[in-house]
């Protein structure tokens, strides 16, 4: 018997609105389509009416989870156009914020994934552990969501020696807790049964469809902008790019957990070697030089790119934002095919979709 099963735009397994149509034969999904656009706010258009500082405030609100990534990437693009050299201390502070953001984003996703597979004790535990990272972000930036740490030419808030020691101590407490989650995730039978072999996307398909970030790395593709095209202060740090060969939902969970370990390494190196000096280039609103450039950053969900075109005035001629979810969401129908309807929510969630990013 054939059915068309609609999921969303509002659904308990979805944190944000997306509509999916599943074409099924009994329990098995034969084909699927996804429809987006429920959060489209015309942010790219609004950017053309704003100066660089106002744009940073605006793009930070593209997404609540990776808000720093947006401000960071836009600032990098304007700095590249204007040939500004950001003070090293400012770059380190940006990297520390970006990696803390990655930690909280990955743990948030893991909690949701555990919740979807019905493992609510792990959901609560993961989010409990995540709270310590949120506290560190709040201590560092003053905010839990939109951090406002980036400005054109550097960072907006400095890290005192006391705060530096405080974050390092938090990381010392966080590390064994994270290791426990990694151990449970790798060895728990319930997690394995619900995620292994589900939503498979082969390495070839990941390349063909243009998947990015942890989603691509879970399909055994070693891609990471931080390593492949170093920017900001990332060239100063040693870290690995974890990949996992099983190409399923399980691999996506493991890759994100292993990335948390790597993020901790980066934060520790940055805090241990925090350079002295200014954190930014001052508070002047810059004119955006005539020309065009693209800046890229490895956001928690994958490669985020900003095209910024300037016309020599304070306003942007064009800002084009291309987010990882824009690349990963088209892979969802491919992953859904051949799976059961019961796994559809988990497979959609496995790309860690952010539809407010995607729709802009």
């Amino acid at each position: 018997m054939s059915y068309i099963v609609p999921i969303g735009p509002y659904h308990p397994a979805l944190e944000e609105p997306i509509h999916a149509k599943l074409y099924t034969e009994g329990e098995v999904i034969k084909d699927a389509e996804v429809f987006v656009g429920y959060n489209h706010r015309g942010i790219e258009k609004l950017c053309t009416e704003r100066n660089a500082i106002q744009t940073i405030v605006l793009v930070e609100r593209v997404c609540g989870i990776c808000s720093h990534s947006h401000a960071f990437t836009y600032a990098m693009a304007v700095e590249a156009l204007n040939k500004l050299e950001v003070p090293k201390r400012g770059e380190y502070i940006r990297v520390i914020t970006a990696e803390l953001e990655r930690l909280h984003s990955h743990l948030l996703w893991l909690g949701i994934a555990f919740h979807i597979i019905g493992h609510d004790s792990m959901f609560m535990h993961t989010w409990d552990v995540r709270e310590s990272i949120m506290d560190a972000l709040e201590a560092l930036t003053g905010n839990r969501v939109n951090y406002a740490m980036c400005t054109v030419g550097g960072a907006r808030r400095d890290i005192s020696d006391e705060l530096r020691r405080d974050i390092l101590a938090r990381l010392d407490r966080f590390e064994p807790q994270l290791q426990r989650i990694v151990d449970i995730c790798l060895n728990d039978r319930t997690i394995a049964m619900r995620t292994q072999g589900v939503g498979v996307m082969s390495t070839e398909d990941a390349m063909r469809l243009g998947a990015v970030g942890p989603h691509a790395r879970a399909s055994n593709l070693s891609v990471d902008v931080r390593r492949d095209s170093p920017y900001s202060a990332y060239a100063d740090f040693e870290f690995d790019v974890p990949v996992w060969p099983s190409c399923d939902v399980f691999a996506r969970a493991v890759v994100r957990l292993l990335e948390c370990v790597e993020s901790m390494k980066i934060i520790r190196q940055a805090l241990d070697n925090l350079p002295a000096g200014p954190i930014n280039l001052g508070k002047k609103i810059p004119k955006i030089a005539e020309g065009v450039t693209v800046a890229r950053h490895e956001a928690p969900r994958g490669a985020l790119s900003y095209l910024v075109a300037g016309n020599g005035t304070q306003l942007n001629q064009r800002v084009s934002i291309h987010v990882p979810s824009f690349k990963n969401t088209p892979t969802v129908p491919h992953m859904l095919r051949g799976n059961t309807v019961a796994d559809a929510g988990l497979i959609i969630a496995s790309i860690d979709p952010c539809f407010s990013c995607l729709d802009r």
Binding site: H40, S229, S320
Partner: protein
């Protein structure tokens, strides 16, 4: 600082460039469209080539061939977005379904009302629609 290399190409070179990049296993970073200060439309296909982003662009073309057959969904969504929001035609692209805009705006798709129309006109148009809706609900 990341390197951004810009290379102007002709309309005829779009597909061979995409084929060459796909064959070499290069990532399609994104397809961008924007109006330069001289008013000419610029469409660029950006590929990741090692640590560099190579941007192949054409100037003044409102209709270009689609590379969705080469880069699959990675190109199709980007082309659909530019079709909907800027009115750029991609020859061979299936535009029967909308990507971002509501279904009831299908008749205005391809006219680039969002990114091309001045914000003031968009705001006036919104006020007009809201006014019409208010009048209808009062009736």
């Amino acid at each position: 600082m990341q390197e951004y290399k810009q290379i102007e190409i002709t309309r005829e070179e779009i597909v061979p460039t995409a084929l060459r990049m796909r064959h070499d296993g290069k990532w399609l970073v994104m397809i961008y469209g924007w109006y330069q200060t001289d008013g000419r439309l610029r469409i660029s296909w950006d590929y990741e080539v090692g640590p560099v982003v190579e941007s192949y662009y054409v100037l003044g073309e409102k209709s270009v061939p689609s590379i969705a057959g080469i880069y699959d969904e990675a190109a199709r969504w980007a082309e659909l977005e530019l079709y909907e929001l800027m009115g750029i035609e991609f020859e061979g692209l299936d535009t029967s379904k909308r990507l971002f805009l509501p279904e009831n705006l299908l008749e205005t798709q391809g006219k680039g009302q969002i990114l091309v129309t001045p914000l003031k006109e968009l705001v006036d148009r919104r006020d007009e629609i809201l006014g019409e809706k208010k009048e209808a609900s009062e009736e």
